[in-house]
């Protein structure tokens, strides 16, 4: 299958602290990849480097064969191909639910307002928020906000969806509704890259699991392999810690 994103030798420094060390990693079309690992292992930074919210300190990020870190490459055109879902939702506070999903389409993709609203409604329906089009972000629960955020990203019809710990800021009883939507998307064949602490979910939906530790990819493989037969000692340690606590 076609490789959409390929990361070669990427590293990232915050000051003198090396957060990512020589990362090699790729995502194929239609693949669902989850990145797991303890806090501070660099998972979120990796995801944020992929859509350039953080600028990698070195290496290459290839998108469909082009190095997007190249000076002449337009990062704005690239970013609209990637949908991003944040831990803190980050819905636009000055827009209602519908408008959150419309504004990007109209301003960035130059779609007409009618067309944009149609697309937005389609995705709001998928996430089950189509009844709340008039609500403002501060009137919604966390789970509702995150589902709108997913619809907003989907409305841009991206090639890849990035999820940065989408359920970590949610109350426990709201985690399920968001994971359900994400599972549905995974089954629809969408390419997804997910940073998560939800091990059961990762086991269930992933085509591939990546375990990160101290800024490197320590191990990657099928969920079966990672969760049931990890080869690395630190993977075993991590899984023992997290599975016991959950």
């Amino acid at each position: 299958m076609e490789t959409i994103i390929e990361i070669k030798h990427v590293n990232k420094y915050f000051g003198s602290h090396e957060v990512l060390k020589d990362i090699d990693f790729s995502v194929k079309k239609g693949e669902v990849v989850t990145i797991i690992g303890s806090s501070g292992s660099g998972k979120s930074t990796l995801l944020r480097c992929i859509n350039l919210l953080e600028k990698p300190s070195g290496g290459e990020i290839m998108y469909k064969g082009e190095n997007i870190l190249d000076e002449k490459h337009d990062i704005f055109t690239y970013r609209r191909k990637l949908g991003m879902v944040f831990q803190q939702f980050n819905l636009f506070n000055n827009h209602n639910v519908l408008s959150n999903c419309v504004v990007g389409q109209v301003k960035v993709l130059k779609r007409s307002k009618d067309e944009a609203e149609k697309v937005a409604m389609k995705y709001l329906k998928i996430v089950g928020m189509d009844k709340y089009v008039n609500a403002r972000p501060n009137q919604l629960s966390g789970g509702q906000k995150q589902r709108v955020a997913i619809a907003r990203a989907l409305s841009m019809e991206p090639d890849v969806m990035l999820f940065d710990e989408p359920t970590s800021a949610l109350d426990p009883e709201m985690v399920g509704e968001v994971l359900k939507v994400m599972k549905q998307l995974a089954e629809s064949g969408l390419t997804m890259l997910i940073v998560t602490h939800e091990m059961e979910f990762a086991k269930e939906v992933s085509d591939r699991v990546v375990f990160m530790d101290k800024g490197v990819i320590a191990e990657e493989g099928s969920p079966e392999q990672i969760f049931n037969h990890p080869t690395q000692e630190r993977t075993r340690e991590f899984l023992k810690r997290t599975l016991r606590s959950s």
């Binding site: 859509n51 919210l53 704005f76 055109t77 970013r79 609209r80 990637l82 949908g83 991003m84 944040f86 803190q88 939702f89 980050n90 819905l91 636009f92 506070n93 000055n94 827009h95 209602n96 519908l98 504004v103 990007g104 301003k107 960035v108 993709l109 609203e117 149609k118 409604m121 709001l124 329906k125 189509d130 009844k131 709340y132 089009v133 008039n134 609500a135 403002r136 009137q139 955020a149 907003r152 990203a153 841009m156």
Partner: protein, 246 residues
């Protein structure tokens, strides 16, 4: 008796008082609006991300330095002195006989602009970083992010401070009597100069200033509430309805 004098002063001089109050409101309102526009522009320029290198960096740095000097200068000197320097200075230096009212509006505008620039900059900085990131993640550039996401929130947030500035301007236009602008203080001074009833005349002016600031405060509060948007949202029983609804 004072009270009889007050009635007498009002009945004899009310057209003058009203004209003075009108001039005060005119200068304060125009000065606040122009000042807010100046402040908004400067605040926007000062928050443009400075590139790491290149000609654009040098230009931005230079512009920022000039703007910072403007702000420091006008915040650091009294408006009464600025009025004298600008009005008499322009006559002396350039031989321009400035219209007094024009000079007054100019002084109030640039003074307000200096304060508003900092208020706007603070307003922009205080917007959650996630709002910028979410906008960038869907492919918006800096200008699109500011126009569609950040600025609408900033304007709502700085409205109380702008109102405050308006109220300050209504009172501070009184210093413009030094360049013989016929605002309320100047008018009152001439009235009192004719009848030698200083207390009663200025008492009337005092009440008029208070009424003006009170009304302005109430009007601004009303607009603030309007900008908050409706408290409740309608749940769409039938999403088709929602699609049609703008």
């Amino acid at each position: 008796m004072s009270f009889e004098w007050i009635v007498k002063i009002i009945s004899e001089n009310w057209p003058m008082f009203l004209r003075g109050a009108g001039m005060t409101l005119f200068i304060a309102l125009l000065g606040t609006i122009l000042g807010a526009i100046i402040g908004l522009l400067i605040g926007l320029i000062r928050t443009i991300p400075v590139p790491e290198r290149g000609a654009k960096r040098a230009i931005l740095k230079a512009v920022n330095a000039i703007l910072a000097t403007y702000i420091e200068f006008f915040r650091g000197t009294p408006m009464i002195v600025q009025a004298m320097v600008i009005y008499y200075g322009s006559a002396l230096a350039f031989g321009v006989d400035m219209d007094r009212i024009l000079a007054a509006v100019f002084v109030v505008s640039i003074n307000t602009g200096a304060y508003m620039a900092e208020i706007v900059r603070g307003g922009i900085i205080s917007i959650d970083k996630g709002q910028f990131e979410a906008a960038h993640a869907i492919g918006m550039n800096h200008v699109q992010t500011m126009m569609n996401v950040v600025l609408p929130q900033v304007i709502r947030n700085i409205l109380p401070a702008t109102g405050n500035q308006f109220v300050i301007n209504i009172k501070d236009t009184s210093v413009l009597n030094v360049i013989s602008v016929t605002e309320l203080y100047f008018t009152t001074k001439s009235i009192a100069g004719n009848n030698f009833r200083y207390f009663e005349s200025f008492f009337v002016a005092c009440v008029m200033y208070f009424i003006m600031t009170l009304i302005v405060t109430k009007i601004l509060r009303y607009f603030e509430r309007k900008l908050e948007g409706p408290d409740n949202y309608a749940v769409m029983a039938n999403p088709v309805q929602a699609e049609g609804k703008k």
